[in-house]
Amino acid sequence: MAKNDKMRKDRIQKKFKEEGGFEIDLDIKIKAIDDEFSEVPPADEMRVPLRQQVGSAGDPIVEEGQQVKYGQKLSEDEDDALTVPVHSPVNGTVKEVMRYENPLSGAPEPTVIIETKDEEREPYYDPMDPDKVSRDEMIERVRETGIVGQGGAVFPTHAKLKDAKDRVSHLIINAKESDPNVACDARLMIEEPEVMVDGIKLMAAMIGADNVIFATRTTEGEMPKLEKILKREGIEIARIRPNYSVGYGRLLVTEVLGKEVPDDKNPTDVGALVQNVLTAYAVSKAIRDGEPLIDRGLTYYSKDVGGKNLWVRQGTPVSKVFEFLGESPGKYERVILGSVMRGTWISDPSIPIIKAHQGIIAYKEEEPHPYEDQTWCIRCGYCNDVCPVDIYPNLIIEAQDIGDTDWLQKLNPGACIDCGLCAYVCPSHINFRPKMKKAKSETSKSKLKQI
């Protein structure tokens, strides 16, 4: 084992420590960090959803039978600030433009089916010289290349950059990688630190932030190469608590700057822009190489295969990833896309990977299912203790059950960030998600929050 690897292993955090003394095991993450990225080849047929971010889908700008190139735009809607173009992940032919189950919503949404011709990757856009273009041109490139937040929230990056431009003093890079089943951010920090840091500097230049803070749960010496580069570039490293919930953008602002982000405001309103570390990588690739956001790193985990870091193009059916790993989806009862804490459970392996998916995790029937033995609430209060936003999930459910809407309103279910910690610790295995969702819809005026 190389000296650096040994040093990193010795220093690595074994558990996340949550409020109330609860812990999240990081076994999968630790095992997966050492696995080098492998590239999953595209499938013969790619299913590319035209909406892969919060906001709405762009309009399709290709038709059936049309030849498309790798990186060519498939959709566009320049009028909608939260819509970004989606690009072809392969050279090929458009087979169909149809409505297909969207991994974000579970509902049929516009999707382009492409028959793959080859695996070539010729950047579609011209490289940009950041010294010769304006900041607005760079932000427009970020939009044009379809970059969205890579931490799982998929908020359009250009919209956040625009909002933050000349308004914020701090750019906080979220290198926390909170999801316990994901190691792709950490792996990329080991494999591509130069590109990543370049993306960070480009974003700082775009918004004119004086202070750049690299927020990480890692300990000193765990990522020596990256640390050296950050030091060289004068980027401050903030070593934050190893909590799962701290990775949530708003809470990260509090963790790093000690400022609360008011519920009706965005982090930019308190002087900070939070961007994910993988997003920084994508920004550098888009500006320097003309690469649209077509693929992403993700971590696959199953008991049989262990943790694997993969580079997967958007539109690749999950079944192709299984095939690449020599696995069969039929072996598994539950396949989860994204985070094991927040991701969606898919029943059909033809569902495609999109920009939001930082992980795939496959469970067999015999592996424990968290909600099989649901029973009554015993009011132990664990859920209240662990909640990172200081609401009372169990009182919310009680208020909802008895229909006490005034009390429900006071309990503020709208502040819930869907972190899943309440259900994670509940000894009665209560499934909070649908109940909290209902409570939120009953009480809050829905508003899209930037995180």
């Binding site: 927040r342 209240n384 649908p434």
Partner: protein, 370 residues
């Protein structure tokens, strides 16, 4: 889980997170039982056979009701209320440990029939019945059952002395409202009478080396006239503290109740000294009010019962303080062991206490959060 919820499961986002910490209700119950088993063991050493019989009677009566309910539900093919005997076992052990044994010196006889009755009522009415009817327990089952039985016995005792025979002199044998405690004959307020009471009730001899223990010493280590769960109150204190930390009981209740009782006993010890020095009186007051079995066991294992106690942090502190104050007041009025009544009263107030003050959510604190 309701049928609707079961049907709703295929919905894509319903089941998040997809992992669980791996600590469930049954494990919580079994570990709680294990903790109390240590206390029970210590108590049997101190109190001997009567304590053991009480424990067996309480566990037996609760488990008998549990088995009946379980068999009935299996026969009818309906959803089982209890998927394991863990929770009934805890209830049974609490019933056992909140029963009173009176040392042989005082001529008391342990009322096993009362224990059995409290066990049956705990399981049938206050645990199963309450849960089924309200889908939640508002009153601590063992406390509710014991308070009910004792109130009835109290009435009987005063209405017709003859009924006492029914319980084999049980009412003289050490329950909270038995005749040497009532009608509020014990003057716990007067310092000199308080010391007499202490010496009469608690001075004892260790079975080894014939060591004579003062009342204060025996209240810390060796109570033969007390709730079974507090016979070796130092053991109860240590095991209780470990359980609160390990099993994450509502520690705010324990801390606030314990500290409040400590403060109250120190204050009264300093004010009403009688023929004794402040130090003597304070140590006797602390030993009696804080370390007597009816308080020390109750504060760790009954006042923390999750369903019947408040959720918000401030409310838990209020609950703890109020429990100490009420118990203290009952003790001063001669209702020794009245902690159980105090607990039931506060259990009833819990739904209101839940609404007193809640923390502000993130995003609404209106200040620097850290």
């Amino acid at each position: 889980m309701s049928e609707d919820e079961k049907k709703a499961r295929p919905y894509r986002e319903v089941d998040t997170p997809h992992v669980h910490i791996g600590f469930d209700k049954n494990e919580l119950m079994l570990k709680t039982f294990l903790m109390m088993l240590i206390i029970a063991f210590a108590s049997v050493i101190v109190m001997g056979m009567p304590a053991l019989i009480h424990i067996l009677v309480a566990l037996g009566s609760v488990l008998a009701v549990y088995t009946t309910i379980d068999s009935y539900q299996r026969m009818k093919g309906v959803e089982l209320t209890y998927d394991s005997p863990a929770s009934p076992l805890v209830a049974g052990m609490i019933v056992a440990l909140c029963m009173t044994v009176v040392g042989p010196d005082l001529g008391g006889r342990a009322p096993y029939t009362v224990t059995a009755l409290v066990g049956v009522l705990t399981m049938l009415v206050f645990k199963y019945g309450q849960g089924r009817y309200f889908r939640r327990k508002y009153i601590n089952p063992a406390a509710g059952a014991k308070a009910l039985v004792l109130l009835v016995l109290f009435g009987i005792n005063y209405l017709a002395e003859t009924f006492e025979g029914l319980f084999g002199g049980a009412l003289d044998g050490g329950m909270i409202f038995h005749s040497h405690h009532s009608p509020f004959e014990l003057d716990v307020l007067d310092p000199n009478e308080f010391v007499d009471l202490l010496e009469w009730g608690f001075t004892t001899e260790l079975p080894v080396f014939g060591t004579e223990l003062t009342a204060t010493q025996s209240l810390f280590f060796w109570q033969t006239h007390s709730w079974i769960g507090g016979a070796a109150s130092i053991v109860t204190l240590i095991v209780g503290a470990v359980a609160v930390y390990w099993l994450r009981y509502k520690w705010r209740i324990v801390v606030s109740c314990f500290v409040s009782m400590l403060v109250l006993s120190v204050v009264i010890g300093m004010i009403l000294t009688g023929d004794y020095s402040i130090w003597e009186m304070v140590s006797m007051r602390v030993a009696f009010h804080v370390f007597t079995g009816s308080f020390i066991f109750m504060v760790f294992f009954m006042a923390t019962e999750p369903q019947s106690t408040p959720m918000p942090e401030i409310s838990q502190y209020i609950f703890g303080v109020a429990l100490a104050v009420l118990t203290f007041a009952f003790q001063l009025y001669g209702i020794v062991g009245g902690s159980i009544l105090a607990l039931v009263i506060l259990n009833i107030a819990t739904p209101f206490m839940d609404k007193i003050v809640i923390k502000k959510a993130y995003g609404f604190k209106g200040k620097s959060a850290r």
